[in-house]
Amino acid sequence: MNSSWAREVAAILGKELRVELRGRVGLYSTLVFAVGAVTALGIASIRGEPSPSLAAGLLWVALLFACVVGLARTFLSEEEQGTADLLRLLANPGPVFWGKAVFNMLLLIAVALFVVPLFVLFVKVEVVAPFLLISGVLCGCAGLAAVVSMCGALASRAQGRGLLMGVISLPLLLPVLAAGITALRGAFGDPSAESWSAVASLGGMAVAFSSLGPYLYAAVWKQ
């Protein structure tokens, strides 16, 4: 990793952060969607506490839909606002992908920091392993952000990109969700779950997807 590459990543990340701080569209839309989903789940569980397995699945569903709605914007909005061509002239594809993927990860982690405690409070689920919960959510958010960033990059120039984004990202997110559910099952008190293996595989997925992403983005960058 050379310094100019790191500088380019930092510049793209800084640009995304500045755009977000000016408009806060991504943060608000992701947060409102996730909080709305958690509220609905809380209402659904008024009459009974869900099992660890169900609670883990519900939490990931809330984060999943929030991230598909909010994170794809980073790539899609460049095409919608007509700034993508300028970016292609001024920057290299690898740093652009990494800058946007890191921004997506930070945004999703920020949303998760608010949503996970709210979920525990509303759904009344008991957390027996807080460190496992934090590790699982962090690694899961990294995996979700890597996949959604790649899908956003692939769908950004397609016809009906908003709809297509959901279609291509949901199936690719299912392996991440399956491992994420196993990780959180242990955190919510299911002793049979191999949760730390699931956290390790979530980390592996995040590394694998985010490593391959820049190369694939570079291959379609000027198509």
Partner: protein, 242 residues
């Protein structure tokens, strides 16, 4: 022609072997468990075709030769056909052996997720206006999708997400627990199914390459990445003024 006759004879041979094979010991329904001859090979081969599709996608992205894209999409189409076959035969197998068509067995779930991932490939592929852009983006997706295969096949089923009904069957097929007669029939069936679908792949590639030649001669496949579809321009006759 010889290849087709060979495939026909091989198909008849495999059917005869299926009828002749004894019931599979260790399964609740021994006689109907013989469906594994037609269930396990498609499940194994679909992954093979998907990986081949990813290899051709890499070659396309490196060379920008649309013939590799044709091979990639042909492999993914054949792989999807095999994946559907494996899912449907798996459901029949599950109903007969375990009493339910679907019970979220890890293997059943992972192959279904794989099917969804490649169904999305086709949605992406047909969302671009030009063949060149469609080829590039769907190739990138095919490579990304192939990266999920190791997680779906090797890692997720071992995470104890759900109790597996496949454990005995997997041990029998992969762990070498099949008796010699069964092993011979199983691998013969695997080879015959591979040859059948390799033939289907070859036919699809030929058809795709002919379509490519037609598009090039019609001027539809454009070299420039951002050029719009020019459509077919036909000569027009101008009328004389008088």
């Amino acid at each position: 022609m010889i290849y087709r006759i060979f495939l026909l004879l091989a198909g008849i041979g495999v059917t005869a072997l299926y009828v002749w094979a004894p019931g599979a010991k260790g399964f609740p329904q021994e006689e109907s468990a013989k469906i594994l001859f037609f269930h396990v090979p498609p499940a194994m081969l679909c992954t093979l075709f998907y990986l081949w599709g990813a290899v051709m996608a890499i070659r396309y992205l490196m060379s920008k030769d649309l013939r590799f894209d044709v091979r990639s999409v042909a492999a993914i189409e054949v792989g999807t056909l095999l994946c559907v076959l494996a899912t449907v035969t798996g459901m029949v197998f599950a109903k007969v052996q375990w009493g339910a068509f679907w019970e979220w067995d890890p293997r059943q779930t992972s192959i279904f997720i794989q099917l969804l991932i490649y169904a999305a490939y086709f949605a992406l592929r047909y969302s671009f206006p030009t063949p060149v852009r469609s080829a590039a983006y769907s190739s990138a997706y095919a490579i990304f999708a192939a990266l999920t295969a190791p997680f779906l096949i090797f890692i997720l089923p071992r995470l104890n997400l759900w109790p597996s009904s496949h454990a005995g069957a997997n041990q029998a097929v992969v762990g070498g627990g099949l008796d010699p007669t069964y092993r011979t029939i199983f691998y013969t069936t695997l080879v015959v199914i591979l040859l059948c679908f390799a033939w289907a792949y070859k036919v699809r590639v030929r058809e795709g390459e002919e379509g490519l030649l037609k598009e090039v001669s019609d001027g539809l496949a454009t070299g420039g990445s951002d050029s719009p579809d020019p459509g077919v321009v036909r000569p027009v006759r101008l009328r004389d003024r008088d």
